[in-house]
Symmetry: C2
Subunit: 439 residues, 2 copies
């Protein structure tokens, strides 16, 4: 079917005028865009019209399906283990995936995590992993398949032929102020999840100041839209809305996040990041291995404490070409920043809130992230902040570290991090870890 | 002032979120676009947001001013005669300008009409004029100035440096389904009128099936927006909302329109096109020469009947390099189509409506217009349909002509034109010529 530019303008005009689009029109539009027959300007105009006038459930489903069909799909049919894809909508110090993949593997599940590289204050999961010397994430589909069968988990770069429509459209949305639309976000996330044939999609929709969705209510709307898409495509999908009113873990950087993940995998580090990872591993095991949730969580905690999850991590690092010694002594293997400044609390009281966004920005200023596609990142720099909301702080107390290229940038970051902490004079409740769970 | 892409995205985001934009933001946006620092995609996204969330009077004024300031402006300070710029929002067989310019010149006014070429079922005013052998419309500002001083009128191509922001933005709106926005249309029209310093802007906002605004109410909204812009810029502007529920004149083509205009200038052809041109000439004379309107209309009619308007037309054609003999014997000078098919009414009754759009489309199919910038047009082809709404028709009555490249295309056009005429069994009222006049 050939579609002339005039027809595509009519599709945009219909959405502009508040009409519901016919499936064939949405399909033609996506196909034309992928082929280069629809200009970025026409698509940007469509995206703004869709953002402002909305897409209903059927339109969103058709858009998502058309995006999936723009590329190849991945199947793990040959695996004996049940497969799970865990995805987070993104937050600060959200290193769940790094721990979840080997932990789920240790529990008898298979995890093939395909990630995009993305932009942000720190690198994405791929960048963090690549701070391990030698480790590669550009695996072929066959390599991923083999590694998942042998090791139980792989974390690799999503190839360009997986949902190419999303890659192009997301970059365009970022450039044209058309990101904040629930149907467009749901289509973007779910097209990539649905293009990989797993037994369970486990979604973590973050809510709070450090996330895209600022309130649990907004996050619930996105969660519901994602679940609906999975249901309509006949796929199992369970969704949690979790708290991002403060950084989840303590480390905001790249090598620092790996070190923190290894601390959890070694059973040494406790806290919210471990708790939430155990929680998701329990949910995956409940859904796919038919275990009671509480029992599954106990098993997950045990796999962290007895070294079996760490062993899967070591095997994954080795399989992907990285130095497996990182699992035993991270500090001797990971790149280190030349300057480490201890962070001391400048006030006494209870931590009432932490601006995850401000801490992310400070890490970005240190060099931990990228503003443009292809920019280099510095894996060694970043921020460690231990206190969580509700914790008691004393002035002068050691509360973390700044890892920087030099003293001057470390001092700037320290000032920014201290300013991001809101200290109250009276006791403060810790926020819930999980706002809602949708089976 | 350097504006980064991020700042421009924030301007789009603000409009997307329903905010009122600061003047500095609108100015920065237009400047960046003209300089090539804002992508077509970002501007298209902005245009859709502005279309759906609106621009208030101040935002529209700031946008219009920024567009004017994107290029040079034209002044006719040296002229002794009062200058008038007459502009129509466009319709089918709307040849008022071709007659108005020499008629107003004959009445002691000066008319420098700068036109764009545009797209459409038939050519624009420039294309029509260029069907006169030798006639050029690419005059320099100095040539225009001199010709207006000597002849009283000139119809020339708008140079690319007059409101360049509009040229680029209009093409983008056309390509991205973001045309139908009253503030954006008003800014586009008025930026070009306000960039030329005349004593009076006379606007003809068309309403009806053959126009962009389908009802007098919609047309009034656009008329009011245009007048407000002129008032805010301290310029005299008077606006008529006139009927376009049927083609205004009888000819839809290029050379055919010139022949019809010459018929009116020779005092031979009567009808709505002559009547509306006289009406506008009367309004211009009333405003600029302090005459009573009725008296001014009488003078205009006389200038058509006594050959003085024709004489100005002849002088204008000669000054622009065309063959002045066209004024005396159009058919011997203008290009003629190889096939002329007489159009006979296929029904008896009263003409209840004429789809101006369908007749325009039929003329386009004959080759009278262009779909893309730079496409060639055939000046000789087109359609002549005499009956107007309310006229009595007899089956077999001669009601016009099809001028075509061959018999086959003439037959197709004849069928389309007859189908565009709605014949009623009882008497029908003629629509008013002018719906509203705003001084």
């Amino acid at each position: 079917v050939t579609v002339s530019p005039v027809d595509l303008r009519n599709v945009v005009a219909a959405k502009r005028d508040g009409k519901t689009l016919a499936p064939a029109d949405i399909e033609a539009f996506v196909r034309a865009y992928v082929r280069g027959d629809a200009s970025d300007a026409l698509v940007a105009s469509f995206l703004m019209a869709a953002l402002l006038n909305g897409l209903d459930d059927t339109e969103t489903l058709v858009l998502t399906t058309a995006m999936i069909e723009s590329g190849r799909t991945v199947s793990f049919d040959a695996l004996e283990r049940p497969t799970v894809d865990k995805h987070s909508t993104g937050g600060v110090a959200d290193g769940v995936t790094l721990v979840f993949a080997p932990l789920a593997a240790a529990m008898g599940l298979a995890v093939a995590k395909l990630s995009g590289r993305g932009l942000g204050h720190t690198g994405g999961t791929l960048d963090k992993l690549e701070s391990i010397p030698g480790l590669r994430t550009d695996l072929t589909p066959e390599q991923i398949q083999r590694q998942v069968a042998e090791v139980g988990c792989a974390v690799a770069a999503q190839t360009a032929d997986l949902v190419p429509a999303d890659g192009a459209m997301y970059a365009l949305r970022d450039a044209t102020a058309t990101v904040p639309s629930v149907p467009l976000i749901a289509a973007s996330i779910m097209s990539k999840k649905l293009a990989v044939d797993t037994d369970l999609i486990l979604l973590d929709v973050k809510a709070g100041s450090g996330a895209f969705m600022k309130t649990p209510e907004e996050a619930r709307g996105l969660a519901a839209a994602c679940r609906r898409l999975a249901r309509d495509k006949g796929r199992a999908c369970r969704v949690a809305v979790t708290d991002m009113s403060q950084p989840l873990g303590d480390s905001v950087g790249n090598a620092l996040d790996i070190a923190e993940a290894i601390g959890i995998l070694r059973g040494e580090t406790r806290g919210r990041l471990r708790d939430l990872t155990v929680w998701f591993a329990g949910r995956a095991s409940e859904a796919l291995l038919d275990r009671a949730f509480d029992e599954a969580c106990d098993l997950a905690a045990r796999a962290l404490d007895d070294g079996s999850a760490l062993e899967r991590f070591r095997a994954m690092v080795r399989a992907q070409g990285g130095d497996p010694a990182v699992a035993d002594d991270p500090s001797s293997v990971l790149p280190a920043a030349p300057t480490v400044l201890r962070l001391l609390s400048d006030r006494t009281g209870w931590l009432a809130s932490t601006s995850a966004e401000a801490i992310g920005l400070a890490a970005g200023t240190l060099g931990a992230g990228r503003a443009r596609k292809g920019d280099p990142i510095d894996p060694s720099v970043g921020i460690v902040v231990h206190p969580k909301i509700g914790d008691r702080l004393e002035a002068g107390q050691d509360i973390g570290e700044i890892h920087a290229r030099d003293e001057a940038s470390a001092e700037v970051a320290a000032t920014e991090v201290l300013a991001a902490l809101d200290i109250a004079g009276s006791r403060v409740e810790a926020p819930p870890m999980v706002h809602e769970w949708m089976e």
